[in-house]
Symmetry: C3
Subunit: 104 residues, 3 copies
C-alpha cells in the first residue's frame, strides 16, 4: 500500500542554498536533502555571459518530498519567483509514492 506524494527538485548555485531551504521550511516541508554536484547551462550555472562548466562542488541539488501537492506547488513557485529571475537554476516536480504519509 502506497500513497501519492510530490517530489520537488531544485538545482541551483550553492550561493543561494540557504535562501532556498528557508523557503522549503517556511512552507512546512518535514525535511529536505542536499546533494553537491557540478553541471552546465541552466542546471546550476549563472549565465553571466555564456554557459560554462562548474566543478564537482559548485552547485547543489535540493530535494523535498511532501504529501500535499499544494505545498509542493508553493515551494516551486516561491523558489522560482525569488531566485530564478537572477540566478541560473531549475525546479521540477515529480509524482512519487510513499509508504508512510505522516512522515511528509
Amino acid at each position: 500500500m502506497t500513497y501519492k506524494a510530490t517530489k520537488i527538485t531544485i538545482v541551483s548555485e550553492k550561493l543561494i542554498q540557504s535562501g532556498i531551504t528557508r523557503i522549503v521550511e517556511d512552507e512546512g516541508a518535514a525535511g529536505y536533502t542536499v546533494i553537491e554536484g557540478g553541471g552546465k547551462g541552466q542546471h546550476g550555472v549563472r549565465s553571466t555571459d555564456r554557459p560554462k562548466v562548474v566543478g564537482a562542488f559548485g552547485i547543489v541539488k535540493i530535494e523535498v518530498v511532501v504529501a500535499d501537492r499544494g505545498v509542493a506547488d508553493a515551494i516551486a513557485d516561491k523558489v522560482a519567483a525569488s531566485y530564478f529571475e537572477n540566478y541560473a537554476g531549475i525546479v521540477y516536480l515529480e509524482e512519487v509514492e510513499v509508504l508512510r504519509p505522516k512522515k511528509f
Copy 2:
C-alpha cells in the same frame, strides 16, 4: 521503445547504509547507486529530540531500479520495517522507463 521499471529511493543516515544495501541485494536487485549528501528532518537525520541540519556527508541516498514492481515493493517494505521505526529516513517509489529491461 522503452519498458516500465520502478526506482526505489532511500534516504537515511550513513550508519545504516550497509544494512540497507544488504536488503537490496538479498531481494535480487541487479545493482544500486549510493550518493552522499546532507539534509534535515525526516530526510536522513535521527530525531533524538528535534530535527537538525546534517553536514554535507552525513546521509546517503541509495537508488535502485528494478524491472519487477514486486521486488521494488519488497525492498521498500523491508527497509521501512527494519530501520525506519528507529532511525530517521524516507523511502519512496517512482515509475521510470528503461531501454533494456534485462539489465534490471
Copy 3:
C-alpha cells in the same frame, strides 16, 4: 501551471563522463547536472568478471531535463548505443513537470 518535460538519468563509470555529456550537448539539451557517487552492479561498475562495490567517487550520475521527448529519447538511445555495450551503466527516463519550459 506546469508543463510536461522528461528527465534522463545516466549512471556510469566516471571514465566515460565527458563522452556522455558531449552527446547530451550535441543533441541540444540546455544543460545537465553531474553528481558523484558509488554503487554496485549495473549501476556504474564495469563487470570485468563479477559485480563489485565501487568507492564513494567511482561513478557519476548525469541528469538532464528536456522539454522535448524526442530529444530525451535521442540522448538515451545514443548513450546506450555508444557506451553500454562495453561499459556498465544504466539510463532511464522519467516524466517531470517544469514551471518554465523555455529554460529546457
